[in-house]
């Protein structure tokens, strides 16, 4: 009798599991395409908007700090430091958010579309982990000690983000959003 009850229970659990498994929403082709487009846009925004060397160097350039300290009155110095701190925090927050988005994409979709080797995946995972940690440390440092406190770590984070971008670029190489963007090309691109 006990065996019968146990068998029935196991059967019930399996049936319920099967039911929920069958009901689990499958990624639709439309949804996957949307995720791919979003990942591509995130990557473009990271590569073109946040990581160009000249922009990063400009944001964290010490020469600006030295000039302002030498030439500006104290109230302007405070304004400058507050502005730069906000920009530095905004930069690291955006980089971190973009990296998280790319990491989610890789976890969920990239392996279905790109045949990544185990070593590439391991390298990517280590880069993601290192980068997210560096971003968090930078956020804390900027918050506590200002935007000029960790120039070396900024360079390291930007270089690691560049590596992640390169690997992600390979995963998304087949998807050229620019090519299918209806606003690309012609004067319509300049619409505000």
């Amino acid at each position: 009798m006990i065996q019968l009850i146990l068998s029935l229970l196991v059967g019930l659990v399996l049936a319920v599991s099967l039911y929920f498994f069958a009901r689990r929403p499958k990624p639709s082709a439309e949804g996957s395409a949307q995720r791919l487009r979003e990942a591509r846009q995130t990557l473009d925004s990271l590569q073109d908007g946040l990581l160009p060397n000249d922009l990063v160097e400009r944001i964290f350039a010490r020469e600006d700090l030295e000039y302002v300290i030498a030439a500006a009155p104290p109230d302007v110095q405070s304004l400058f430091l507050a502005d730069r701190k906000n920009v530095a925090l905004g930069w690291v927050r955006r980089v971190r958010a973009a990296v998280l988005e790319l990491m989610r994409f890789h976890r969920g979709h990239a392996r279905l579309h790109a045949r990544l080797s185990f070593s590439t995946e391991l390298r990517l995972a280590l880069n993601f982990a290192g980068l997210l940690t560096a971003c968090r440390l930078l956020q804390i440092t900027f918050y506590l000690r200002g935007p000029y406190a960790a120039p070396g770590m900024v360079r390291t984070a930007a270089a690691a983000a560049g590596r992640v971008c390169s690997i992600s670029e390979n995963s998304l190489a087949f998807l050229n959003v620019k090519g299918i963007d209806p606003f690309e090309g012609g004067g319509a691109r300049h619409r505000a």
Partner: protein, 160 residues
């Protein structure tokens, strides 16, 4: 509607614009403000009668947009010190009363709407912050309440 524009024409138009009009504006700040003002804020399209008559409306629009982005990138790469000099030069070129100019720029912040479309918001924030600080330094210099940089000239000199 997808417009087909010959890139060579755009390049020629941009060169023409640089040679005839922008040659009189040596500073990226001045060029960005000017090129931003050739854009219709309702449509986002750029207009320039002379350039359009020599090429076409579409080619002129693309050439103006390219030069606008170029001026913006140059301005974004400028240090605060360079920006102070550019503001000084720009104020001289407008002929406006400096006090009126500073008051208008502080309240209206025209540089904020003069940036090209599809510009990264963080870069805009960075540029606007730099211009704000440069303007404050310029004003402090003028009022004589700035700290002088060791070895620096007490007067702002015209920009090279």
């Amino acid at each position: 509607m997808k417009l087909t524009i010959n890139p060579t024409d755009v390049q020629l138009a941009a060169n023409d614009l640089r040679r005839r009009t922008l040659a009189h504006m040596p500073m990226p700040l001045e060029r960005m403000i000017y090129l931003g003002s050739t854009r219709d804020y309702n449509t986002g399209m750029y207009y320039h009668d002379g350039l359009a008559s020599r090429f076409s409306d579409e080619v002129a629009c693309e050439a103006l947009a390219n030069c606008h982005r170029e001026a913006y990138r140059q301005l974004l790469g400028a240090s605060v010190e360079e920006l102070v000099l550019q503001i000084d030069s720009y104020i001289r070129s407008t002929g406006a009363a400096p006090l009126d100019f500073v008051a208008a720029w502080k309240s209206l912040q025209p540089y904020r709407v003069a940036v090209p479309a599809s510009t990264d918001p963080l870069a805009i924030e960075f540029l606007c912050g730099n211009v704000r600080v440069a303007l404050a330094i310029w004003e402090a210099h003028r009022e004589g309440r700035s700290r002088q940089r060791p070895g620096a000239s007490p007067q702002l000199s015209p920009v090279r």
